[in-house]
Amino acid sequence: MKKLVLGLAAAAALSFAGGAQAQGYPTKPITMIVPFAAGGPTDIIARIVADNMSKTLGQQIVIENVAGAGGTTGITRAVTAAPDGYTIAMGHLGTFSAAPATYPGLKYDPINGMQTIGLAGGTPILIVARKNLEAPDLKAFVAAVKANPDKFNEAHAGLGSVSWTTCTLFKGILGTPKINAVAYRGTGPALNDLVSGQVDFMCDQIVSVAEQVRSNTIKAYAIASAERSPALPDVPTTKEAGLPDYQIEAWNGIAGPKGMPKEAVDKLVDALNKALNDEGTKKRLLDLGTVLPTAEERTPAGFAALIKRDADKLTPALSAAPKQ
């Protein structure tokens, strides 16, 4: 029934728009749903990328923030919209890979139920701790946590957040899922209490913590990527620091409802690719500590594979995490 209505609505929109949908997409502004409040990391990346994509497409991409339920409200709206190419969404690791294991009642299927466009950028994850924590490096820290899990307090930015997701994976790998987890509403307050030493450690995106690490108000044990980051060249990778299993990156990528016209998909992929090759856009993204996606990840198939890979990686730890 719903499909029929959507179809009718799409048909109506099509007839009113002069039947110009297939030829010359796009003929009207495109809505990009950002499933988080304005100003967050995803919102910023979406606005930077959309700004340039609009130029290529010749139509404005309008950002619509639809926050709620760890981003799943907005993604639900986007992937259940009419698949005409005029509604797309900028999601992230949480909404596309972690959500099925985090939210049991999820109303969309990121693997089979949507049309991926491509990855917009990746953000390395760091394990950071208060500056006066005894353990000098990751090995010592891991040993201390394993020996005495009850002595540690982990801070995270709320269930479903990137810091919660990545730290749950970290705790899963350590085999200590029951560390005292202190939930904060967002990264800011969590970081504040880490700087003032109220809590012991957290995992978060490099863009949030890099300046604090550089100013020595907190210390970084490792970066959970394959390579060191140019933003923090002194921080070893998890592989170098002795925890090679912990490899995770927070990323942002674009997807839309399943069944979008091929022309729309192609044009969006092309526009995204051009945006990521544009010097100005590239610089803005790199300034954020973003890792630009590989050519493979910029394609629908490559992005879908990434979603699947990280979902497989996260699901066991997230399902075992103490919740619900």
Partner: protein, 499 residues
């Protein structure tokens, strides 16, 4: 002396023609969106972010900061004229500000708010310049336990806010706390009282609740008694505050600036408490507290100054620590990062022209807001003369579009209507919505901080008493409560005797 050198560097940056123009543009847009209910600085700043791509970082931030404190100014206009608090900090202004408007003293209320805010803004600018770095340590002294105690203290203020029965005020505070628990639990992800409605999953939005119980309910109340609403347009007093008004507001402005300035530095949006605390103080030290809630000018001057001082000192944790204390500041972090400046403890030393330019522009911005707003007072007051039969549909459409734009969720508008009905019911039952809103605003933070503190202390309530700052705040809370309760307990005893 160093401060002067820094400030002259700052003014050198802020007083270039381009930056003055950007500051003016920001203040103007900010005032506009502040006046429009629902459309807050968050939505506007995010929309304007891409426009600032072409600017240099300092200019962009000067403009965005202008939007932020411009919105604080504009918000009080709506609170005074139509009794709609756009943000939590404007709730207190509705109490006496709107009463003043009803008495034909809207111009004086608006003028007092503008002048008080200007003074507070100037003082806050100096505080940021001179004491920003040392005051940062204050923010770091506040852990979850201290925060929880601060919230408890704030709730005790709400008792003083009450105009009528204290018992009913308690009811409203608890109801506000109960409403604040709606939504997905932060720690476990379980849904509480959401009834499966998607737009309730992140809790009830402040603007939905505030616009319902204040804006919509007020419309319903006015529709019911046409006499009350006609008073507003019947007499228009003088447009700007006179010397007597200014003399009367001088001390409240000073106290409000101090209180708001201190609370603004605290992370986790301590600035919200500023106006409430200021109102409490003014009402408690007033010779005749019964004037409050009926159009006391101190009840506008103090809280408005506290609001603006807090809005500005809230920049301290952002600029000196790189940690945003509230959602708008988080957006400023976003704006800075987009421009290649990652906020952190070193912004002050690494980007001095940005830091001091922004500080200096705050003073420039406050001056501009005064220049923009004082002439507007006349316009606003004229607007009150629009017949109410046309005014309330206009209020409704502004509210509806504003609420819709918060999350782009039509259901939010329907919820606001529902809360309008709820607010109307509260009016009929003799309950006041202001304590409920305070309970609602503090409730979320309070639960969060309580749970954090108990996890860190491994379940020991002693943590609230053992930590000196926390214990001190709790003592203040008890004192406020006792002072508020004593008269009414005595009265009740008298009543028993007279019967």
């Amino acid at each position: 002396m160093e401060t002067f050198a820094h400030l002259s560097l700052g003014f050198g940056v802020a007083l270039t023609f381009k930056n003055i123009a950007l500051c003016f543009a920001g203040c103007l847009i900010g005032t506009l969106i502040g006046v429009l209910p629902g459309v807050g600085p968050i939505a506007t700043i995010s929309i304007l972010l891409p426009i600032t791509f072409g600017l240099d970082p300092t200019g962009a931030l000067i403009m965005l900061a202008g939007i932020y404190y411009g919105a604080q100014y504009g918000g009080s206009t709506t609170a005074i004229l139509v009794n709609i608090p756009g943000e939590a900090t404007a709730v207190v202004t509705t109490l006496d500000g709107h009463q003043m408007a009803k008495q034909g003293r809207a111009g004086i209320a608006l003028g007092t708010a503008a002048i008080g805010s200007f003074f507070a803004g100037c003082v806050a600018t100096v505080i940021i310049a001179a004491l920003g770095a040392p005051l940062t340590k204050l923010a770091l002294l506040f852990g979850p336990a201290e925060y929880f105690s601060l919230m408890v203290m704030g709730l005790c203020f709400a008792v003083v806010l009450a105009r009528g029965s204290i018992l009913k005020a308690f009811c409203m505070i608890m109801l506000g706390l109960l409403l604040s628990t709606v939504g997905t639990d932060l720690e476990t992800g379980q849904e509480r009282l959401t009834f499966g409605v998607a737009s309730l999953m992140d809790g009830i939005d402040f603007s939905v609740l505030a616009m319902g119980v204040f804006g919509f309910a007020e419309v319903l109340r006015n529709l019911e008694n046409p006499e009350a609403r006609d008073v507003v347009k019947a007499k228009i007093g003088r447009l700007l505050p006179g010397w007597d008004d200014l003399k009367q507001s001088a001390a409240p402005v000073l106290r409000g600036t101090f209180i708001g300035g201190i609370l603004g530095i605290l992370p986790g949006n301590g600035a919200v408490l500023g106006p409430f605390a200021s109102y409490t103080v003014e009402k408690k030290i007033a010779k005749d507290p019964s004037r409050f809630g009926k159009g006391a000018i101190e009840g506008v001057a103090g809280p408005e100054s506290a609001n603006n001082a807090g809005a500005q000192t809230a920049f301290i944790p952002l600029l000196t620590l790189g940690i945003p204390p509230n959602a708008v500041m988080a957006l400023m972090v976003g704006a800075m990062t987009i421009h290649g400046i990652i906020p952190g403890p070193q912004v002050m030393t690494r980007n001095p022209e940005l830091f001091w330019g922004m500080v200096a522009s705050m003073w420039v911005g406050n001056l501009m807001l005064l220049i923009i707003n004082l002439p507007l007072v006349g316009v606003w007051v004229k607007l009150l003369q629009v017949p109410y039969r046309l005014m309330f549909p206009a209020i409704l459409i502004f509210c509806c579009i504003g609420i819709y734009s918060v999350n782009n969720q039509p259901l939010d508008v329907a919820f606001t209507a529902l809360f309008g009905l709820f607010g109307y019911l509260l009016i009929k039952l003799g309950f006041e919505p202001a304590p409920m809103l305070l309970g609602f605003v503090l409730g979320k933070l309070m639960e969060e901080k309580l749970r954090q503190a108990l996890i860190i202390s491994r379940g020991s309530f002693m943590t609230f008493v053992e930590r000196p700052i926390s214990a001190g705040l709790l003592v203040v809370a008890v004192l406020v409560l006792v002072i508020a309760l004593l008269p009414s307990i005595a009265k009740k005893r008298d009543e028993v005797f007279t019967e």
